[in-house]
Symmetry: D2
């Protein structure tokens, strides 16, 4: 629990029992150090302090086959680690994708992970909702010069489209001034004291925990008007028929 | 309330007392007909049927001055309708931006509205959170050929960055096959029976209502770890200090 | 002409007779100072030194009506300065759009200008090509924290789609470190010595001049395989008929 | 040469001696059929008919390691086919990236290819320009519902930023109406007769050939104001020093 002074208005619930998955989409293989990991670790520290169980994947260390099916070995791939990674992703209430920026865009590893999440877009939960419902998603981004918001637009769009809830201010990151330059954490100092990055990372982390807590306490995202089997069976949930003219 | 058959698992709460604001960002002045409005009307019908009070703005009919301040008449603009429009926006629990697509992008009117929403990005509520907290946001997009997802990425990003919660599947829209062609609702038929558009619009609408209900019943978005005055006063909410090396 | 030392390989042609149009899409009305203008002025200085005639528009000072027709007064707008602005745009061999960044995106004024350029997308030149053919386009972007590349993606895409040629490295700009902070030129110093910004702006400027010179000397962009009237009349320019199976 | 009727104004040059590289960034391994390949083949047919030598890579069939260095085996990768693929890329005057669309974005394979192209962003030619100068770039995109323009924005941005010239209308593609549905070429018919797709693909192909011809005949992109070694040595090419205030 937090040890800093807070006001009476503060709404600190227990986050025990929640799980969070951080997927680092750096292009670097372990054990090379990843700037993005440094920022993800600071976010994860908040979660751990507050009782959230944290799992982490460095995607580039795994063989994640290209494709949009749950198991690509059934479609010609020699190997595919995604099926077991997906079990860890779907076990989590919170998903945070972390990515570096190259040419203003998220990494190919991040795009790969999103494609494989999309492979399960048709999976349903017991209510007939997308299986990703009832979970909260966010992103953390580092680069040396430009593109936090552009990467976040793409990542957060994909997560909400798949069924994640995006809480307020769910994107954070660090970049330096225009042009090549040092990266987050270089020399043990670069960016580490950036107030904007630190505040946004903190707010994002808490908002993901709050949203996951709310969703868990509600028994998932409310189930009415968003269930595919019912829609396919003809339910229209008050959506008006077109007035053909 | 819904008259379609639903299962016992269905979670139909009362939405009485909630308000929704639909801002149509078409480039057309009234009374010209707007394709985007047709789709927005179908979404709004669901809300009205379920007790949500609906307000609608066609932004192009108003003089919304360029700039990033709350009232641009204080910065040289001859006129500015935004201050009174903002009062209606902030009175709503739900905000839906509707836009046409031009060259694959949202309209200039939509961009203008987002800039003016951003002008209030520093406004705080009683808890010290962004004033937009505790609200749910989504978007509806129509075009004749391409760009729903790209427009949605940008709009939803902005809304969450400002403090709105984005529920699952909060984007919907209609486009036709590649190339110029008829627009939504042309001839009283085009796109109106598109199952994908209808389902996504329905799911989006319900998910916005559900999220707004959850947030209202929780007394807003939980307040801890996301309050600017406390951050500025030195609270760090368990965010670890950097390990300078 | 350049007074710096150059190598024998240098290819300095005469740029006499070329015209360039800089459109500043700042949200600020004159005479407020625009950070983006400072950078545009430095680019324009190179052009003027080398014989290019430079014209400049600050779009926000003009009443540019929303819409996608050449003259919106024919579609209900009270006033529309675009028709006369367009004559100046189309008189130029080079078009540079300058924009500030808000929430990671180009300004609403920039989007408006692009919409109105698009209104002439069907205009043809004497060869039956898009009227924008034979011209070169680029962009200059300033913000205080993030988004040069994202804005450039959108602007350059639109320009090439309309018929402009995009020479190498046609985007340049300045942003500061993540988070709010000073803007380009603040205090008479911020960003002005950024080597990356200065180099990219210089390269962009020269590449636009070179491309415009090449196109003018070629009598415009070569005319074969890209003429709409011929396509509509049935010419297929060696495009193979589908092999229906 | 073209056998269709053309006007006297037509500008048909010889394209003998030019080379084009098509990189198909489908997620599918050979020999699975790729919808994107069908469209690329039609473009390539025009080139071959006119004397351009065409090379094709299906990127997913190769082991292209993640990273931003020319040879990732020097940075921990077990294998890396990129160094030999790059030799084929740089041997071509024209580069066309083809990609499917997933969640509105280009494929992870396409992002990977761009990252590896970027690895050579610092390579210089004999004039001190980026090694990609003097080449023309474009893209071809297929999906079943949405995103041609968004993918094109990203791809064309990257190509021009690296040094490629983007000729007019260098993006083309096919998508169907909003929602899941058939893909390009399904049943041997879908999309194959789409006039917009066919026209844009044709215009793009010719414009790439024209631009490559112009650049080759000019001895590459003109060399002045765009050479890094000279900039680094202090040449400023008429870029004005800042007026510090």
């Amino acid at each position: 629990m937090s040890t800093q002074p807070t006001t009476a208005a503060d709404d600190i619930r227990s986050f025990d029992g929640l799980r969070a998955m951080y997927i680092n989409c750096t292009l670097k293989l372990s054990p090379q150090s990843s700037h993005t990991q440094l920022l993800m670790d600071r976010s994860a520290a908040i979660m751990r302090t507050n009782g959230v169980e944290v799992d982490t994947i460095r995607a580039a260390d795994h063989r994640i086959a290209p494709g949009v099916y749950p198991d690509m070995t059934e479609h010609g791939a020699e190997a595919d680690d995604w099926p077991e990674l997906f079990e860890r992703v779907i076990a989590a209430d919170i998903l945070i994708l972390g990515t570096p920026i190259w040419l203003g865009d998220k990494s190919s590893v991040c795009t790969r992970v999103i494609e494989r999440l999309y492979a399960h877009g048709g999976d349903l939960n017991d209510h007939g909702q997308s299986r990703y419902y009832g979970r909260a998603g966010g992103c953390l981004i580092t680069g040396n010069e430009d593109g936090i918001k552009h990467c976040a637009m793409s990542i957060l769009y994909s997560l909400q489209h798949l069924g994640y809830t995006i809480p307020p201010q769910a994107d954070a990151g660090w970049i330096g001034e225009a042009g090549p330059g040092p990266s987050y954490g270089d020399d043990g100092t670069v960016g580490l004291d950036n107030d904007f990055t630190n505040r946004n990372t903190t707010f994002m982390t808490w908002n993901l925990m709050h949203a996951a807590r709310l969703l868990r306490d509600s028994g998932g995202f409310p189930a009415h008007g968003n269930q595919r089997p019912q829609w396919d069976a003809g339910a229209r949930f008050d959506y008006p028929a077109p007035e053909h003219r």
